[in-house]
């Protein structure tokens, strides 16, 4: 399992647009990718659940990537977060 902690820098937090981008990105990999905030973990493929987390700018989330392509998907997701969120 690949895991990293990330503090959201996007001023709007994980709103519809960033959540949509994240969901799209997640579809590229076979691994299960989850975002956890305050003990609630959500699969990034679930757009509405992701939005429901209501992650705001400055809040910290834990991202977990687990599956056969995690060695590629993990660092890729980390780069994606840095670039987009």
């Amino acid at each position: 399992m690949f895991e990293f902690v990330y503090t959201i820098k996007d001023p709007v937090g994980i709103h519809a647009r960033p959540a949509g981008l994240l969901s799209k990105e997640g579809r590229k990999y076979k691994s299960a990718i989850t975002v956890e905030k305050d003990g609630n973990a959500v699969n990034v493929l679930k757009l509405m659940a992701l939005m429901k987390l209501g992650v705001k700018c400055g809040e910290t989330v834990t991202v977990r990537v687990e599956g056969e392509d995690e060695a590629v998907a993990g660092p890729a997701m980390q780069a994606f977060f840095s670039a987009n969120l």
């Binding site: 001023p11 493929l45 679930k46 757009l47």
Partner: protein, 557 residues
Amino acid sequence: MMTIQGKGVSAGIGMGPLYFFRRAAAEAPCYTVQDAQAEWQRFKDAQAMAVEQLGDLAEKARAEAGDDAAFLFETHQMMAEDMDYEEAIEGVIREELLNAETAVSRACDQFVEMFASMDDSYMQARAADIRDVSRRILSILCGTVQGSIASDVPVLLAADDLAPSETIQLDKSKILGFITAGGSGSSHTAILARTMGIPAIVGVGDALRMEYEGRSVIVDGSTGAVFIDPDEDTTRRMTQRREEQVARQKMLETLKGQENVTRDGRSIRVYCNIGAPEDVDAVLANDGGGIGLFRSEFLYLNAETYPTEDEQFEAYKAVLTRMDGREVIIRTCDIGADKQIDYFDLPREENPAMGMRALRISLSRPDFFRTQLRALYRASAYGKLGIMFPMVTSVWEVREAKKLIERVKAELTQEGVPFSEHVQIGIMIETPAAAVMSDVLAREVDFFSCGTNDLTQYTLACDRQNNDLDRFYDPHHPAVLRLIRMVVENAHKNGIWVGVCGELGADLSMAETFLSIGVDELSVTPRAVLPLRRTIREANLIGKAQEILAALDRGTV
């Protein structure tokens, strides 16, 4: 002829037959099914078709209104395919053996409620998106077509309200104008209408009846008037106004992207005055160079109690983000005088214009002021912010306000909250005292902004609210103009800039005077930007500037 009054949200005049937007039946049938697998497949097919339609809409939106509009439909696509949404639907079909329509309706309600219960107004508004997506799937399931315009000639489109997907998929070449019973200036219909330059009137209520369908109608998007079966005189008047508007708009459009510079090369910045975050649309549409006055009062006026730091922060941030690096000057709370608020609990005054108002309240209630300053500094990380204090009369007031700012900055630094180190601090010059002391005040701040309405009222001792004083309340009075000239000279001696943000700034007959005096910026209502730009670009002040200044010296302006 019959006249209905609504709220004009997109200017222009539209004439044509009235046509009511038709929507698929909202009531979905409910029945039990034998073969759950087949029913599930029925849903999957409808879902696939919805996703395909949304993809087409996204492309259409991209071409008509840009990437942001397209993304809305891409988000709808993802919502339609959302796993939790699907799961909720599958549960109803397989476990309760109910039809797909019922399953979709129930899932829709469930997710609408989920979004509506979030403590974030942005997320609450997403409930409308899930409703829109569900309605699309439902109409595919029911075999009804989504609303369209079955008319060969262009029409004035009437509806209770229009969802974004409905507005975007309409054939724009068939729409002469929008009239909706509900909606507001910031509804999707209004925004889209303004973007596309189609007249729109919202909030006409139940005065608009289905039985008017097909009747000849004229709408005036600037006044909000809807004329049904207009008489000859109205038709003639409106036709003439439309021709004038079209010609004028065409001319103004050519000014977008042009500089505000006179023929003899004097330039001036033209910014906008706004009163709420949604006014940024108009600033961008009219090519405003920045925001010279963002009145923060809306936050206080639209509330039951003091707005929190986060609420203020979100509003300021939204404006700064959307202005994308262009200057935004936010005026701190200017409550008092003609703007009274119950929860402020201000004592009744004989003469509120000269009483406890604006910066005086802020300095008397440091905790209240601190909340606003913290929100402003937090927002400063998202753009180019200027902060300005209203109703200054003494140098000590400015120093005290600046001291509070230093404290807020120290707090934020300690908390590790990011903010900009380049926030400009300015004051409104709206009292004769501030104008007379402007040489000293100029050493304390980065800019001045002359509020001509109050400056006129206080200089001429004329109550703005008293209509009988009209003849005496003269904003062109040489006393007012001399004060502004003095302020500009004192500012420039100290290397700071001066704007004019009162109504006088948009007075086209004054543009040459302000240019001659050397005013650096005019902040005006968004729709005045392009007319003002035209006046500036047509001006040639060689020789004329001296004349204007000499007239000011003689006092004969």
